[in-house]
Point group: C2
Chain length 406, copies 2
């Protein structure tokens, strides 16, 4: 059994028209008019596929295909909101890939033991309402409903009010699940599959992330009259630490380290910087390795500070724990890759997804499709129709294995 | 013969009251009301010292003490404008030190062969009207008068209009000079004298400066899904170049190198920077060494770019030539150090001063007084009364040597 690649492609193109940007991408912020339009279209397409559609108190839209049994469902989904000037695939691919699975099962007349549900999660991106993945997080019990409802956008508009305005404020009883398994299909958002020549990724988990802020306090001075040996240059010190942070990521198997943000003071051409503040983002699948990376950063900072007679402080201010996916679900995805004969590889997701919170409450897993140059969150985001079909076929067979054909 | 240290100290304190800041410093921007007030006070004190005062078309105030001969004068001076929240000594010390020399000569009844003139240069700092040292530069022929007159401040107010408003728009015939020699007394603005244990510096010249802008163009990506080996991280690349630039300054005798300004894009914690722009300031007394430093920077940039598969461009956009002072004047200053028995050392100025432009047209030299911790352009700027007196005594004896006692 295989999905209809042309139908999937047409479906993605149809949905990408809503919020389409002149540059070939999509802007469809959560709970905007564009979000209402895309939700209306999804509901219509779900109903046409025979799904029983329900909307919950967070705006999550769930469509249900009954199973031979009435127990927990196999849940598949992702999100239809996007960043500003985002791409056509981030999120939409997971929702429409799941819809394509339903259509394929319908066409083949295949029933499953377990019910199958597909879900469109509200506000995954976190661009309009922070934090990201707020609605899946609320379903998983990470966020209280009142907290979600009181989130405001830049204009001060409340999440609950906007949800009601677009007509998608439903009932708590309509939340997705309970689920025997959760599957999320997504484009990779990175270059690993392309680099390895694999069309599909078997995602073993979502890495942990820890963020620190590093403050380098030296001494601002005229660039001219201060000889090199008498300087306490905060930016020269920071440069050494930043190079060292890159080294920490390179030396540590499976880790990445990034300095994304930097600011120097007074930041003028002819003054030695007296103060530099920069950030570090460490990611790894193992919490202990994250701790170790931060410890090594502290050592590096202390050594640099001592050598240069300046102060460097490292404040670790936020951590997201690593989330290994459920073995049964990961192995079902791996087996589905075998079923479909696709070139696949195992990897971890470096970015967060709704599946992170789903794994809190239900056995979860993800499937990645190769993304050209690893681009995402931009209008140039692109995956070939062949790779998109390959990922959807893996979703189909993984869902069949988890839901059990009758 | 020695200056009156207490009178010099009182004079500095009196002038520091005009534009005094709560933090113990001075804000006296060029052609402001505070500048008018301090000019009025200077004129009064000049006249009380028996000087014939004149104001030129650029607002420069010159006071003349006749000599036995009527030929070129020995000119001494500096400036009374300050940066925002500047110190009490930068500029004022050179003007009031010169005034103290006149008072000392008067008290001792000493006449000189050559006339002696003292000058307060307009807008040395360049904070309100760019560029810095605009009025001495105009006297030296670097800037046309119309160019100076049309300079505007942030509010769009013109130099000429502000000069007229404060009542200091004089005649071109009243410019200072012609001068047989120009002497400028100034606090060091750096830590070299303090580090060496010397009270006074014999300044041999003003270093050349060359500025470049470096643009590092890598590729912005999610911090998570991009493995270390597949990144084109502009900030990690920049860090290596910045460390190398510090090395260039350290390896090169008499050179300083500074990266003062940096900006990363998109500058968010969880995105690999795709673009970084930063500046370099190289200083050295020898033009050929400046050229060599820029060449070595270009090589460093090219090597880094090649290793990391990114683009780095180096644009050298501004150079101020090195200015060695006239040997006769430097040796007169050195001899005056011997006359007064002060602990002195020879050094180059790392910062620009009006003496740079004076050297274009008249034999010039400078005298530095030790500055605690090398602080300047801040309210904490401080030199001891003893060191200030020592510098003024060197000015006195250098002026006597150059003007010739009768």
């Amino acid at each position: 059994m295989r999905v209809d690649a042309a139908r999937l492609r047409a479906s993605l193109a149809e949905f990408a028209q809503i919020g389409a940007t002149p540059g070939g991408g999509v802007t469809r912020l959560a709970l905007s008019d564009a979000d209402r339009a895309v939700r209306d279209l999804l509901r219509r397409r779900m109903e046409e596929a025979g799904l029983a559609v329900r909307v919950d108190d967070l705006g999550n839209i769930t469509g249900r295909r009954p199973g031979a049994e009435s127990g927990p469902a196999v849940l598949m989904g992702s999100h239809l909101d996007t960043v500003r000037q985002g791409g056509k695939y981030d999120g939409a691919y997971g929702v429409l890939g799941a819809l394509e699975v339903i259509r394929t099962l319908n066409d083949a007349g295949v029933s499953t033991q377990r019910p199958i549900e597909i879900v469109d999660w509200t506000n995954e991106e976190g661009v309009r309402f922070e934090p990201a993945m707020i609605a899946s997080g609320a379903v998983a019990g990470r966020f209280a409903r009142d907290y979600v409802y009181d989130r405001t956008d830049r204009e001060g508009l409340r999440f609950e009010d906007e949800l009601r305005r677009i007509g998608y404020l439903g009932e708590v009883a309509n939340r997705p699940g309970p689920a025997a398994a959760y599957l999320e299909l997504h484009i990779e958002q990175g270059p690993v599959l392309e680099d390895a020549g694999a069309a599909v990724g078997i995602v073993e988990g979502i890495v942990g992330i820890t963020w620190s802020e590093i403050i380098v306090a030296g001494h601002a001075d005229h660039a001219g009259p201060s000889p090199m040996g008498l300087r306490r240059d905060a930016l020269a010190a920071a440069a050494g630490v930043i190079a060292g942070i890159e080294g920490l990521g390179r030396e540590t198997e499976g880790a990445v380290s990034t300095v994304g943000r930097i600011a120097a003071e007074p930041n003028v051409i002819n003054t030695i910087p007296g103060r530099v503040v920069f950030s570090t983002d460490f990611r790894h699948r193992d919490h202990a390795v994250l701790d170790d990376l931060v410890e090594r950063l502290r050592t590096l900072a202390a050594t640099t500070a001592s050598e240069r007679d300046i102060e460097i402080t490292v404040e670790r201010f936020w951590t997201s724990e690593p989330t290994p996916f459920a073995t049964d679900v990961v192995e079902a995805v791996a087996a589905a890759c075998g079923d479909t004969g696709v070139d696949a590889m195992r990897l971890w997701s470096g970015a967060g997804h709704d599946a992170k919170y789903m794994q809190d409450i239900w056995p979860s897993g993800m499937i990645f499709a190769r993304s050209i140059a690893g681009l995402s969150h931009c209008e140039q985001e692109y995956s070939t129709p062949e790779d998109l079909a390959a990922g959807a076929n893996v979703l189909l067979h993984a869902a069949l294995r988890l839901a059990g054909p009758v």
